[in-house]
């Protein structure tokens, strides 16, 4: 799929060729630096991007056999909040400040399931219980500004899951929260995913978050997918230089979680490894591999021809001409 933004000063190719599958009940993580197109890709699914400058120029998004690109707006609205939901990064600003929280949860219920206001509010109270917010009945009539960031994010989750969607897209759900709250929210997401059998797409730039919560990972760079693998395989042996760089920049303290224990132990130094160079501008088309300017393995082939995504090991894909040597790359 490709999503481009047509601006006065050029075409920004935010997502330039991204493909993946999502199985029922599976949790997929999409990871990458800011600006790599992970959010744009996910939001394109629901058509939530400003479409005048943005446009999906290629590819297809199939959901339960239906093509979502080009779907008319009414049909799309029936899917949003109902079969596919989103939660966003900023819980502080993502809730309507002048509407009671209970009503915000009840809205999709009344809309998609035709519930009466009373019934919808009852279900909303149930949702509050589900997201582990105490004193549900009283919370229904409160307003967002009276609640903490963690609570607001739980409300967002309640809203998103109210109609029991098949897919939940979580776009950086914990980035704006305190570390302790982050852990709570992630745990909640895992529990809910099990209880409701929802498929989840978890987007984050934070590898630690991904490591804890997902089963399969996609690594994105400059609008393209560069690696895809089950999470433990990815961490044990990454097959793209960029992934290696990302892993190297995870702080040592964070490596407490079991998944991350399989990482090669870093050299005893205190500096975090940094990937030299900067993200390429998404408005200039790239010949060859987008990561080549920053990669120590880059060769002429890399600069002239974009590497195809190949299955380098069972279920493990990477787009790199020198994938076998990727794990040797050292940064910092």
């Amino acid at each position: 799929m490709k999503t481009w933004f047509f601006t006065r000063d050029g075409i920004v190719r935010a997502v330039d060729g991204l493909s993946y599958h999502l199985r029922r009940g599976e949790t997929l993580g999409i990871v990458g630096e800011s600006g790599c197109g992970k959010s744009v890709g996910a939001l394109s699914i629901l058509g939530l991007l400003p479409m005048p400058p943005g446009r999906i120029v290629g590819g297809s998004i199939r959901f339960r056999g239906r093509e979502l690109i080009g779907l008319d707006e009414t049909a799309m609205r029936a899917i949003r909040g109902n079969e596919i939901s989103v939660i966003f990064q900023e819980p502080m600003t993502s809730l309507n400040p002048v509407m009671a929280v209970g009503r915000q949860i009840a809205e999709p219920l009344m809309l998609h399931q035709g519930l009466s206001r009373r019934a919808a509010h009852d279900r909303a109270a149930e949702m509050l219980d589900l997201v582990r917010i105490p004193d549900a009945r009283r919370r229904l009539t409160e307003y967002p500004h009276q609640l903490s960031g963690g609570t607001r994010q739980r409300i967002m989750i309640a809203i998103a899951l109210a109609c029991r969607p098949d897919i939940l897209i979580a776009d950086e759900p914990t980035t704006a929260l305190d570390v302790t709250i982050q852990a709570q929210i992630l745990r909640l997401l895992r529990q809910l995913q099990r209880e409701l059998a929802t498929s989840v797409i978890l987007i984050s730039h934070n590898l630690a978050v991904i490591a804890e919560s997902v089963q399969r990972v996609i690594v994105m760079y400059a609008g393209r997918k560069v690696e895809e693998a089950p999470v433990s395989q990815l961490f044990r042996r990454p097959r793209h230089p960029y992934t290696v760089g990302l892993l190297g920049s995870v702080p040592r303290i964070v490596r407490g979680s079991p998944q991350l224990q399989t990482l090669p132990q870093p050299q005893p130094k205190t500096r975090l490894a940094e990937i030299p160079g900067m993200l390429p501008s998404l408005s200039e088309p790239v010949a060859g591999c987008a990561f080549a300017p920053r990669c120590s393995l880059a060769s002429e082939t890399c600069r002239s021809a974009p590497p195809p995504l190949k299955e380098q090991a069972p279920h493990h894909f990477a787009a790199c001409w020198h994938s076998e040597r990727a794990a040797e790359v050292a940064y910092g």
Binding site: F5, T7, R8, D9, G10, V12, A14, S34, G35, C36, G37, S39, V40, L43, L49, P50, P53, Q89, D171, S281, L282, S283
Partner: protein, 294 residues
């Protein structure tokens, strides 16, 4: 998503910062139109001695209330005077009033606003007075002020300035107050910089942008207020051919000679429109966040 869109936004911003001329016209057609229109009116009024077809004061009892013709581009009024000539001479008065009021109100408002933003005591008094002044509808206040003064262009200017000052004071004061909270100003104060220097170096430059925008709007408003005052008989003295006066004279004859009111009126409207457009454009180009804080 914010990241990709941020890049998009950045790409867009670069255009505003350093526009080649053609892109400027394409990007802000309305502003350019406004500026051109205003320049045209200004030139016409300035060149009045050369462009007028008749002496604006010349009375011609025979040719009274004639509709527009080749000889009298906009017709004649009740005394046979050529409306076109009176209109372009009258434009000088109206434009002058607008500009002078704009500058005067801005200058005074800036001074008062700076003091008010800086001194809490002064602020308490000043803001009460300004609130009170703003509670009286503008036209009424202007009318009342004119009623105690001898009618002249000077008094009209003073009256309208008084009416427009409170808005400027409010604006400047809010900018000053918000800037005082900024850490770099706090740092300057802690470093021992004298208040005057802080004002000139840090605060003043930040007030200029919204102030300039506000000045254009005041000019426009002042021209309208002057016209209304004169139209009601409470503005410039009857001998002065401001647009408002020309229209006031044309009141009684409207049904038979509508051009007496419509010609200067539409021209006034066009001028005010031009100034408003320029103001809008300036506001769009300069930081909109501060300019909107009125």
């Amino acid at each position: 998503m914010t990241d990709a869109l941020h890049q998009v936004g950045l790409a867009g911003d670069a255009g505003i910062l350093s526009p080649p001329r053609r892109a400027l016209v394409r990007r802000y057609p309305m502003v350019v139109l406004g500026a051109v229109l205003f320049a045209a009116v200004l030139l016409i009024t300035l060149a009045a001695p050369w462009l007028a077809s008749h002496d604006p004061q010349e009375i011609d009892p025979i040719a009274r209330l004639r509709p527009p013709s080749a000889e009298h581009l906009l017709g004649t009024d009740a005394l046979g005077r050529d409306v076109w000539s009176r209109t372009i001479y009258g434009g000088r008065i109206s434009l002058m009033v607008g500009l002078v009021v704009g500058l005067l109100a801005s200058a005074l408002g800036l001074a008062i606003g700076l003091v008010s933003g800086y001194s809490r005591i002064a602020d308490a008094i000043v803001m009460r007075v300004m609130d009170g002044l703003m509670s009286i509808p503008a036209i009424l206040l202007a009318i009342a002020l004119m009623s105690v003064a001898r009618a002249s262009i000077f008094t009209v200017i003073i009256a309208i300035t008084v009416v427009e000052i409170p808005r400027v004071v409010r604006l400047v004061r809010s900018v000053v107050l918000s800037l005082r909270e900024q850490t770099y100003v706090e740092a300057a104060i802690v470093a021992g910089t004298r208040p005057a220097r802080i004002v000139f170096k840090h605060i003043l430059p930040n007030t200029l942008a919204p102030l300039i925008v506000q000045t254009t709007y005041i000019c426009a408003a002042a021209m309208l207020v002057e016209a209304i005052l004169s139209f009601l008989g409470a503005g410039t003295p009857p001998e002065v051919p401001s647009w408002g006066n020309i229209m006031a004279e044309g009141r009684t004859f409207f049904q038979i000679a509508p051009w007496l009111i419509l010609s200067p009126g539409l021209l006034l409207g066009a001028t005010v429109l031009a100034v408003n457009l320029v103001g809008d454009g300036l506001r769009g180009a300069l930081d909109p966040r501060i300019a909107r804080r009125m």
